[in-house]
């Protein structure tokens, strides 16, 4: 089969290291074809060592023909070498946006170009010499070489396929994350601007209130972490109760600081606090009116506080019961609020276009939500205060450590969950 009749897409890819010029040119010989399956046969035909028919063309492509000697090593374009290079090029595959086009190379040395530069002609001669030398080698060696090349090409294709698959997966993951981020942003940046033009003016305050809180909360978590570590090392060492008391006071004070922060941002946007967007996902799972449930808190703490005196056990028991009763009352109040808002919004004829009266009334009712959040935080604060009163200093320190560690682990759980590996997609 005459060499020149083979329809093959030819890429010649060069890097001119000295000048950093990359030139890619495609030379379409006949029609473009996928090089799957038939590649081996095509190449072997192309490498038909019928020396009277074969031509070796050498294309050197550059932006300016006066450029200095390329670093391009001609032996890389010897007849057999480019097949090896397919493997390497497969790895360095730069997406021209067309991953399915072929990457094989047929080298033809065109004698015409010999005249274009001295050095290149020398290189070409070397190439042709190499070619002629190869032609005289025994056939089975050549066959072996061909097989190796085919193998390398096949491996390269598989590698490329795996790489592309990996890229696709990453792309999907990225889209997922972007959507999640968008959703979280929308939740956090509730504007309340249902009525045309009325509340848009406040959106700046809302955003800055939320932004300020987020920054402060980030710092709060860092300080919390430091306090926990300090408590841990201090409890293992043997320091006086007085010094430990200082740590306990600052630990409790730190929680009170959080409640103050939440109160401020609740005035800016109560839905932001209630939705728990500012917390990690596992923490949010346990959320009750914008924070942890005091009675749950006690369940986490008490096992860590052993041994407790009889009196302490009784007092903690009473505290837990009071918490639960107070929580129930607030929860039922919240339910009533939901019912009220719902019936207000749904009220009135639906075939009227204007819903403004209903929504405006509902807005007034929603103001109560701020009081509920404040009451819930007040309950948390009181619970911490009572525990501090009931327990000894050392017990209180252990309690704070247990509490802080619990939240820390919940955050770790959230992170682990968020970064869990996707299901394997490759066989």
């Amino acid at each position: 089969m005459p060499f020149s009749n083979l329809p093959l897409l030819v890429y010649i890819y060069q890097i001119w290291e000295e000048e950093g010029i990359e030139a890619i040119e495609t030379w379409n010989v006949g029609e473009q074809q996928e090089l799957e399956g038939d590649e081996e046969s095509k190449l072997s035909i192309a490498l038909d060592i019928n020396s009277t028919c074969a031509k070796v063309a050498f294309f050197i492509i550059s932006k300016s023909m006066n450029s200095p000697t390329p670093q391009f090593v001609p032996s890389r374009l010897g007849i057999y070498e480019p097949i090896h290079q397919i493997g390497i090029w497969g790895e360095n595959f730069k997406s021209n946006g067309n991953p399915n086009t072929s990457t094989s190379v047929i080298v033809e040395v065109d004698n015409k170009l010999e005249n274009e530069s001295e050095t290149t002609s020398h290189e070409m001669l070397t190439a042709s010499n190499t070619y002629e030398q190869e032609a005289s080698k025994p056939i089975d060696k050549i066959q072996r070489r061909l097989a190796q090349n085919r193998e390398a090409a096949r491996k390269s294709r598989l590698r490329k396929k795996a790489y592309v698959q990996q890229l696709e997966n990453s792309r999907l993951k990225l889209i997922q994350l972007e959507q999640e981020l968008q959703r979280a942003r929308q939740q956090g940046l509730y504007m309340g601007g249902v009525l045309e033009g009325s509340h848009i003016g406040f959106s700046g305050t809302v955003n800055s209130g939320i932004a300020a809180f987020e920054m402060e909360y980030g710092r709060w978590v860092d300080v919390q972490h430091r306090q926990i570590c300090e408590l841990r090392t201090t409890l293992n060492a043997h320091i006086s109760d007085i010094e430990l008391r200082i740590l306990v006071e600052s630990g409790i004070g730190h929680y009170f600081e959080l409640f103050r922060m939440k109160s401020t941002v609740a005035k800016a946007d109560v839905f932001y606090v209630i939705s728990g967007v500012w917390k990690t996902s596992a923490e949010r799972f346990f959320s009750w009116i914008g924070g942890f449930r005091p009675s749950e808190l006690l369940k986490v703490l008490v096992p860590q506080l052993d041994p407790l005196t009889e009196q302490q056990i009784l007092e903690v028991c009473n505290l837990k019961q009071s918490c639960q009763q107070a929580e129930d009352a607030l929860s039922q109040g919240m339910e009533k609020l939901q019912e009220t808002v719902s019936s207000t919004v749904a009220g009135g004829p639906v075939d009227e276009v204007s819903y403004i009266p209903q929504v405006a009334t509902a807005m007034e009712k929603l103001e109560a939500l701020v009081s509920f959040v404040n009451q819930a935080d007040h309950l948390r604060q009181e619970t911490l205060q009572q525990m501090s009163r009931i327990l000894t200093t050392r017990q209180a320190a252990r309690g704070l450590l247990a509490l802080g560690e619990y939240f820390h682990r919940l955050r770790a759980l959230s992170t682990l969950w968020a970064t869990r590996p996707p299901e394997p997609s490759l066989p």
Partner: protein, 101 residues
């Protein structure tokens, strides 16, 4: 001033509320839980509501409602009642007025 104090001393446990106030509702639920029947006066339904609201604020409630009176004496608003309850002081206070059916 008079109406508030009069109403407050008429019954054992009195809660001044507003018809739309869900926090007031929560307080009455708590009292119910503790075996106390509270008398609720909705000041927004009362013709003298404005005056009563001013009185309650003057008496020291940061929010006029809910305002809780036990045995004729002002306990306070939600904050005070909750703190009292968690510290274990509410039940003893309500004991004389508990009516378990």
């Amino acid at each position: 001033m008079d109406k508030v104090m009069r109403l407050a001393s008429e019954k054992d446990v009195v809660v001044f509320s507003k018809s739309s106030c869900c926090l007031c509702y929560a307080i009455t639920i708590l009292f119910q839980e503790l075996g106390v029947t509270s008398t609720v006066h909705e000041i927004d339904q009362d013709p003298e509501g404005r005056e009563m609201e001013k009185t309650l604020v003057r008496l020291g409630c940061n929010a006029p409602v809910p305002a809780i009176f036990v045995g004729g004496r002002l306990v306070g608003s939600t904050n005070e009642v909750m703190s009292l309850h968690l510290s274990g002081g509410l039940i003893p206070m309500l004991k004389p007025y508990q009516t378990w059916c």
